[in-house]
Structure formats: structure tokens, C-alpha cells
Amino acid sequence: MSRRKHQPLAVLASILVAAALTIVPLGETLAWFRPYWMALVIIYWGIESPREGGLATAFFAGLLLDVLTGTLLGQHALSLVIVAYIVARFRLRIRFFPLWQQALVVLAILLNDRIIEIWILGLSGRPVPGWQALWPPLTAMLAWPWVFLLLDEARRRTR
């Protein structure tokens, strides 16, 4: 269908923007609250356009983050693939939730993600973050409605 032609472009653009937002300098205190932008983008496309927002997209977006931030190759990839899987699994339910309920789902998914991340860091013998690690999922929850509306608008314009 021709109206779907530009969708991959919108997905790619949003992934690049999320990657840039991940490394934009925020200063020492604000950096603790930085939401996991890439996860929000992956969740959005997972809900709205499973064709592009699948596990493969999540995997490559994760690899991009790994190289950008110098983490273990595959660390962000695994985290995002799991996020995308959970979204795909419950897509039909999440899709018709009101925004605030979706935000709660986002919180749950990202808390789960944190547990997996801490597990990976622990296994590889790297220092494990403290309680501040719980802030980003909370700010991501608050950011979700805005990200959703913004991406919805962008998607509507590009197709």
C-alpha cells in the first residue's frame, strides 16, 4: 500500500532522534532522570506498526545504543528485544488502553528492563547502580503520553 511507504523512514528518523537524545549532555543531576528514550520509541512502534516495530528493529536500535554509549555489545540490544517482545505479546490489549494506563504499562516494562540490566551488569562483574536507577522508568512513564502524541503526529504527517 502506498500510504505505508514512508513508515520505515519515520521509524528510522525516530530511532536516530532517540539515539541523539540518549547522549545529549544534561548535567550531572539531570542525567539521573533521563528516560530510556529508545525504549519509548520501540514501544510506540511495537504498538502502532508491528511490521516495522518488531524484534529486528529493536535489535539494531539496541546495537546502535551499545556502540554510542560504549556498553557491552548486545546489552541494549537484548534489553530492547525483550521490551519489543513484551509489547508484541500484549499489543492488542495495550493498544486500546487509555494513555495513562499505557503509561503504567510502560513503567512496568521499564522496571522489568532495569532488573534485567542489573542482572547483566552483575554477571559481567560491572558495578551495579543504586536506588537512583529507579528514576528513569518513572520519568519515562511521565514522558510516555507526550512521546506517544508526538510520534502519532509525526506518523500521520509522513504517510
Binding site: 541523539a20 545529549v24 546502535l64 556502540v67 557491552l72 492488542l92 558495578p127
Partner: protein, 292 residues
């Protein structure tokens, strides 16, 4: 309109959410992580990917860099003149110090020749710019704008005007990641300049604090002492300032002191860092074939 679409995509959602796909991707990721953690087979892959990702870094770094540059461009003339004067004075002082230092250096080489030890001076130094990007706030790492193209190597020490900042942890063609000495997983061999007592300075994850653990209670150490790199281990060249002693903590029940240091380098304030090529670079390189 929405009916057929949702029906259509539910097929995809079933496919996209299949447990088989998840396990395949998980397997790939785990293999990647294990390979990355245990060896350097993935360095080439990482280099290639990092070059592809470089435009994103540039897109984030350049606007910030440009805004700094414009701010400097439009700075008041008076401020510039006074700053220039101040710098000139400081330069004069520094030059006077340097001439004295040169004499001392000569004397040092002579004495070392008498003692038949190798002179250890003349490390090569190059300035690198910090890229204005944030990494994970839970680790103390920075990204600099030089990589293998500028001959940066793994484990290379970096410093600023004040002292040691950290060491290179990952090298890519045009950029490199460095771990700071304040990172909780970092430790650096040091000695107290006044007494020559050796110890190890650990990072704690705070930008203004380093710790010497297990210092004997009888040790001759007091607040204000300068702590420098000892050069043991072959990674950091000897004699670079690391920190000054601020506090001694006697912990009850142990025969040891823990000593708090304030880093000499402006860990969280510098925009430029010095890459140091130690004189006996080959030794440093072989010492660093293992990742930190």
C-alpha cells in the same frame, strides 16, 4: 477501515511476538555480550559500527561546541583583554618555574646516570577534546575526539593540567572511551610524594573523592600530602599528581586507616584532556593487552 487493518496486523503481532524469535535474538545478544566481555574479536565490528554512529555523536556535539564558540566570539573586549593580561602573567610565572625545572631536570638526569638507572622523562603528550555527550551516569566515563587514527591505544593514561584523569578503555577509529579514576571499578597505584609510601587509590563513583584503603595506622601521612602515580604496574607513568590527602579515618576494629583524597585533576570540569604516551610506551602497551 480499522477492522481489516487490525486483523491484518494481528497476524504480524503473532509473528513478531513469537517466543522462537525472542529466543534467537536473545541467543545472539548473549553470544555478543560474552564475546565482547571475554575478548577482542569484536573490536573490528565495533569499530565499523562506531564509524556509522559517528554522525549522531557529531550532531549532538557540534551545536554545543558551536554555541560555546559563538559565546566566546561575542565575549566583551574588556573581559578578553583582562583575561589576556592575566594569562600572560601566569605564563611568565610558569616560564620562570620552568627554567628552574630545566636545571633540576638536568641535575636529575646526571644523578640518575650516576646511579645507573634509566632517565624517565619526556613523555609525549597530545591534547584531545572531550566530546559533549553524556554516557551512563552510573559509570564515570568520558568520550574523546581521538582514536586509533591518532595512535591512541588501550590503557593509555589521560591527564589534565592538574593531574591524572583516567585511562582509555575502548578505542575506535575517530573516538575513544576513557574510564575516570573516580569510577567505582577503577584503582590506580600511587605513592605519597613526601614519604614515598606506596598504596592504591580507589574510585568511589564521586567526582571529588578517591580512597586509599588499608593504610597502616603507623603510616606517616597527613592532610595536605600530595599523592602521585607510582608507575608500578606499568600503565601510568610515574610522578603524575593524583590527589591531595583531605582526611584520615581511623576505623575501629581494624589496624588500618582509610585515607580520603581530593583528585588533583578537575575531573568534572575539563573540556580538554591530555593524552600521554609514556616514554616506555612498549611496556605500557604490553601491560595493557588485557582489558581493564
Amino acid at each position: 477501515m480499522t477492522e481489516p487493518e487490525s486483523h491484518d496486523s494481528s497476524v504480524f503481532s503473532a509473528r513478531g511476538g513469537s517466543a522462537a524469535a525472542l529466543s534467537i535474538y536473545t541467543l545472539i545478544c548473549v553470544v555478543l555480550m560474552v564475546a565482547d566481555h571475554h575478548g577482542s574479536f569484536l573490536d573490528r565490528v565495533r569499530s565499523l559500527l562506531s564509524v556509522a554512529a559517528q554522525p549522531i555523536v557529531a550532531a549532538v556535539h557540534w551545536p554545543i561546541d558551536a554555541s560555546r564558540a559563538t559565546a566566546e566570539f561575542f565575549a566583551e573586549r574588556e573581559a578578553l583583554v583582562s583575561r589576556n593580561e592575566e594569562l600572560e602573567q601566569r605564563w611568565l610565572l610558569a616560564r620562570a618555574e620552568l627554567t628552574r625545572f630545566a636545571a633540576l631536570q638536568d641535575e636529575n638526569t646526571r644523578l640518575r646516570a650516576l646511579l645507573e638507572t634509566s632517565p624517565r622523562l619526556g613523555d609525549k603528550v597530545v591534547i584531545a577534546e572531550l566530546l559533549a555527550v553524556d554516557l551512563d551516569p552510573f559509570t564515570h566515563r568520558i568520550m574523546i575526539d581521538r582514536g586509533t587514527e591518532s595512535d591512541v591505544f588501550l590503557g593509555q593514561p589521560i591527564a589534565d593540567a592538574g593531574g591524572i584523569i583516567g585511562q582509555i578503555e575502548q578505542v575506535q577509529p575517530f573516538s575513544a572511551f576513557a574510564r575516570l579514576i573516580t569510577d567505582p571499578s577503577h584503582a590506580i597505584p600511587v605513592l605519597v610524594n613526601r614519604t614515598g609510601m606506596r598504596s592504591i587509590a580507589y574510585g568511589l563513583g564521586q567526582t571529588d573523592l578517591l580512597l586509599l584503603r588499608d593504610v597502616p595506622r603507623s603510616a606517616d601521612i597527613s592532610p595536605g600530602d600530595l599523592v602521585v602515580t607510582s608507575g608500578l604496574g606499568g600503565r601510568f607513568p610515574a610522578g603524575f599528581p593524583v590527589g591531595t590527602v583531605t582526611e584520615l579515618n581511623r576505623e575501629t576494629g581494624t589496624p588500618f586507616l582509610t585515607v580520603e583524597l581530593k583528585p588533583s585533576a578537575a575531573i568534572d570540569a575539563s573540556r580538554e584532556v591530555l593524552l600521554v604516551w609514556p616514554k616506555d610506551e612498549t611496556a605500557a602497551r604490553t601491560a595493557d593487552s588485557r582489558t581493564p
